[in-house]
Symmetry: C2
Subunit: 228 residues, 2 copies
């Protein structure tokens, strides 16, 4: 199958890129610069993995999101909160309809280059509080891609039944260099180790039993999950 | 209702902007510069109508479409064909999944500024050969917007049962200055009068009985419709 893989340079999509490239023809890895605080940290990793795999890499500029949208994830937004995600802190990091925008752009690009599918590293641990990560949204969006393209582009989510620690395990089995991936939303020199996405990254390595090569600013004990 | 109106500076969306602004609160008119040959001609009209109505106007830059997508509508594409749309000539002007991309961006912007609905000037004459103009796509996309936003943004198409000559009539009743709208895909100094969208514009004025103030390069007889 000819596919476009959305790759941010994060952990999930990097493992996806490696896995899909083994069994399918990846016509391109597609990244997005939408003005997040961590785009500058993660995108070079996306480019490097594509280069190493001999895959075309394209970065799409979506600078209008930083200018017009509201989110602490964006450079124009306030500080990214620390600790496990809670309803309140997560809402602050939502970039409205981001997945809808990224998948739409990917669908148009897929149709332009003759790809039959768009693949995204959505997984079982994705947060139901983000409306554009929920199953009903993904199903509606898959229908829109299929019906709105001449070729009937498919939206595929190979990791939808895998949690983040399972993704780490699969990556380790393929020899993915996790030090060449980026998660931290703060986008500093090193991973902060304390924001919601750093906490999940650290936990995924801990649960998978795979050595975590990441250099964190803070390696304090993982906080208890809310409500656990 | 608080709404975002997609306005290109074309005939349909300009009439929509005027009509919606009479009965709803239009938080912004949203235009897109995606590298089409006629963006430079139409977008100043979109801005001018918003300004005249006291409505915020934003132009979203989507330059990647011209760089990565294939279409004769784009500056990077070949010549725009003349005459009534046929299956073959229309396919050449398709910008893959364009409506999906524009509606997704509008949904994220609507959520960011507290708008409850995105309105688009889709109408009864829209071409079923464009996959992203067909009813099943629009319904799936409406579901994606509703489900993928926290506020449940609605996709509304007030002109979906109105044809283009009906839109001209409604605009004339509101006193819309049609000389301040742009249709021609070729994007020259004046409307060419011969490309598919010029032919439809001329026909809409003819059928509606409204004077056409447009200056065309060519005002030859309207060609017969294919199959008519």
């Amino acid at each position: 199958m000819n596919a476009i893989v959305l790759c941010s340079g994060g952990l999930d999509s990097t493992v996806l890129l490696h896995e899909v490239s083994r069994s399918h023809s990846v016509l391109a890895g597609l990244s997005f610069d939408y003005g997040s605080k961590h785009n500058a940290r993660e995108l070079p990793f996306a480019a490097a993995h594509c280069r190493a795999l001999g895959i075309r890499h394209e970065t799409v500029e979506l600078g209008f999101m930083d200018r017009l949208f509201s989110s602490t994830l964006l450079r124009s937004g306030g500080a990214v909160p620390d600790g496990y995600y809670t309803e309140e802190t997560m809402k602050a990091t939502v970039v409205p309809f981001r997945n809808g925008i990224l998948l739409s752009v990917a669908a148009g690009f897929a149709e332009s280059v003759g790809a039959e599918a768009v693949m995204i590293g959505a997984h079982a641990g994705d947060h139901v509080i983000y409306p554009d990560c929920r199953e009903p949204f993904m199903e509606a969006m898959a229908g829109a891609l299929k019906l709105g393209t001449d070729a009937g582009v498919d939206l595929l989510r190979p990791f939808i039944a895998v949690d983040k620690s399972g993704i780490v395990q699969r990556g380790a089995e393929m020899g993915v260099d996790f030090s060449q991936t980026w998660s931290c939303y703060k986008g500093g020199e090193r991973h902060c180790g304390a924001c919601g996405t750093c906490v999940e990254r650290r936990e995924a390595f801990f649960l998978s039993g795979v050595d975590d090569p990441t250099e964190y600013e803070s390696t304090g004990p993982l906080p208890g999950r809310p409500g656990a």
